[in-house]
Amino acid sequence: MSDDLIRLSAADLGAKLAAGEVSSVEATRAHLDRIAAVDGAVHAFLHVAGEHALETAAAVDAKRAAGDKLGPLAGVPIAVKDVLVTKGMPSTSGSRILEGWIPPYDATPVTKVREAGLVPLGKTNMDEFAMGSSTEHSAYGPTHNPWDLERIPGGSGGGSAASVAAFEAPLALGSDTGGSIRQPAHVTGTVGVKPTYGAVSRYGSIALASSLDQIGPVTRTVLDAALLHDVIAGHDPLDSTSIPESWPSMAEAVRRADVSGLRIGVIKELDGEGFQAGVRQRFHESLDLLAKQGAEIVEVSAPHFEYSIAAYYLILPAEASSNLAKFDSVRFGLRVTPDGGGTVEQVMAATREAGFGPEVKRRIILGTYALSAGYYDAYYGSAQKVRTLVQRDFDAAFEQVDVLASPTAPTTAFKFGEKLADPLSMYLNDIATIPANLAGVPGISVPAGLAPEDGLPVGIQFLAPAREDARLYNVGGVLEQLLEAEWGGPLLASAPDLSTHELTATEEGAL
């Protein structure tokens, strides 16, 4: 029974809850049991709020019993990326510098999922301050890919993706600054969506790069992503960059999915050199399937995408260097006092030296340099110009096609340590996902199969014009149906059984 519950999609679990076939407490307990069973091996969670989750679940059950009108996801458990602040739950953003900090308020997306009756299970692991593509930069140890525990789960949101892939939660919240939702989805065989910039409030999301960050759903099915998207999207007066207009239902877009006549543009620059053969193979097979359903596949060019990474690695560190300045020990978080005391400047310096990991320091230094007088125009200024050119590439492409497509990332999951010594090759892993963040357009990664050469998951990415997120759910929904028909079920059904990885007492202590 418990094993059945954890394998249900959020939509199906929501339906069973609504029908009274199962209670939220039972569903929540099943997921907490699963976490206890496998998270010692996966390490998707930094904090499990078991008791709190069961109380929340009981409250939802009580509301249902009282006849309250509840949404389709009421009572369904959800994992929350540690980048989002949660009242009463530790929120570290994967950093030592925030260890033990309990925020006094909820991020807006967390408030919205609570209001929709979802049950937060806990906080998921991530690269420190969302800087990374592997979770190896988490201050609390990496998350392991449920498909192969020796490999990375993607990053920065590896914890959210792995929790969903390992059936520890049917849904998770992620954040995507340059691919942190989509790339983990790609390497874990899950679905990840970066909504249009401004679709979901950033209030309470510990900022990495304010002009690039976007909160989005991490799920196992396209419909689940759409249902969660519908919960978290919408204007928030606390975030000036959130879009004031209302949104159509994404879930409706999935239910009415139809690609006949849809023009899909294959981005020439993201379909060749540097991309693994099996990744490209699954990508083109997916396009062929869509073509058979009446989609029109055309090749388009985005000539400035090749400069995206260079621009991104100036804009992101510049904004991050400023956003992370507040971590100074004065009001919250870690405080390190030098031996024998010190001035406030010395305490700030000692705290930041001890509290930030190497990747964070690298980017703070890069960003500080890029914003410095005399370098601003050459670095930050030029990067903003490239950003405009990338946006124009999108504009031109969307004049020809309805959506764009590419592999989500160049390779399948790599092994731990493989790219740690070479930051540049780690950065290159985000080549296909970064342009969407620079332009503020939405993107989705949907499982496209397993690469024949290593048997690891591969994702396909679709991109749509800003505010046309529904198009992603349409094409993603159709593709998912077609592929699952071919596979005879969801891709994750073929993932290794993790039940042999019981959580031992020592591992529990390490949680």
């Binding site: 989002l84 602040v85 929120s91 953003s93 925030l98 900090w101 925020p103 006094p104 308020y105 991020a107 950033r202 209030y203 309470g204 999301s205 510990i206 900022a207 790069a209 304010s210 002009s211 007066p237 606390l238 975030d239 000036s240 960059t241 510049a318 904004e319 260097s321 400023s322 300045a325 507040k326 971590f327 100074d328 004065v330 009001r331 919250f332 406030v344 400047e345 700030m348 500080t368 914003l371 410095s372 007088a373 601003y376 930050y380």
Partner: protein, 504 residues
Amino acid sequence: MARAELMDFDKALELFEPVIGLEVHVELNTTTKMFSPAPNPANSAYHGAEPNTLVSPVCLGLPGSLPVVNGDAVRSSISLGLALGCSIAPSSRFARKNYFYPDLAKNYQISQYDEPIAFEGSVQVELVNGRVFDVPIERAHMEEDAGKLTHVGGSTGRIQGAEYSLVDYNRAGVPLVEIVTKPIFGAEADAPELAKAYVSTIRDIALSLGISEARMERGNLRCDANVSLRPRGAEQLGIRTETKNVNSFRSIERAVRYEIQRQAAILAKGGSITQETRHWHEDTGTTSPGRPKSDADDYRYFPEPDLLPVVPSAELIEELRAALPEPPAAHRRRLKAEWGFTDLEFQDVANSGLLVELEETVKAGATPAAARKWWTGEIARLANAAGQDAASLVIPEHVAELAQLVDAGTLTDRLARQVLEGVVAGEGSPQQIVDARGLAVVSDDGALIAAIDEALASQPDVLAKIRDGKVQAAGAVIGAVMKAMHGKADAARVRELVLERAQG
């Protein structure tokens, strides 16, 4: 600290031309802060709150929090910009000014950098001698205030030598408009007075717009004065100093004068001026060096990505323009006519920077003559003695109340002066002090007559003189009666009664 050598002011003016530039920060009195829903301590409703009680996640810079622009603060800033004769930018942008300091919660200040909301204006400032000066305005931009540090354990209250410091974030995020003048040439010997008169004019404007409490002693209005000298005939500007912490009108004038004399002494000896921030010391009337300031200060400004550009509609700008009060110069002309003051009387008030106080006092029920008498007389005297601005000692409503108590005969001028001292000491309103101290004039004739009869009986010789028609002899009796009444009697009434009783 060695006292700096000063050159005689007139001598300094002979050798050098002073060039001044003024930066005035105006705290807006909006209900909430610039970027957060926390109450604004620069609004008098929240003034004096306990430390760290007027805060939200935004002004504490908590992780995840985001700023949202206060629309009222934008409207106030536009009104101020318009009143300064500035153009209003159809689109302006916020920027982050990055530096680490514990009173700055985010370790960056949200300000405006290359795209201020208002720019290129001019303000008419009138000097004591009647000279009207056009002060050119470079820009006015919106920003947030920092918190406040209290250094504990040191002897001076300064950071040097302190054991620890306390931070109050109530002020963090208070909306500010920073008004920056262009370099002001040609003021010559009037430069110190012009600096003072300019800030006074800004205060008048802010008060007439109702956008700030504009009380210097509370920091609602703060002035940094830039001063440089160049030798007579030179083209190139001299190196400037920026004097901070100048928080009264008097100090502005004194600080500019001091800097002119100090710099002249250095330059005349062939020395050079260090470009730096200097601190004004009210007690010694001197400035001392702060941190060196150079144009290369690197604040790593960049556009604030959490906020959208501010794009006021043309309709809004015109609506605010139409609602502007009279410009100060026109306003003065009207007041002078309404109050019926002579040129000299009016100038006396205007030059003391007390026009607004007088106007408020008249509004609160005093006659213009009485209002002028109190503000330029006793209050000015007390202010002078205390080394403070008159406006900071007492509020116009209390002055009006005092004047009305005198008019009604409840207080004599002498009693009123005592009451005023109580008001300045913070004992309450005039009426409250009259009640508490029992200071009201004794208008009960019965009590007066008893005292008079007693005095006459004890001074039979005086009584005889009065009866002989030597009325001036009554003075001795009046004095005795006033003494017996502890001064709480109307001397004129006592005189009348003494003459009456003496004849009786």
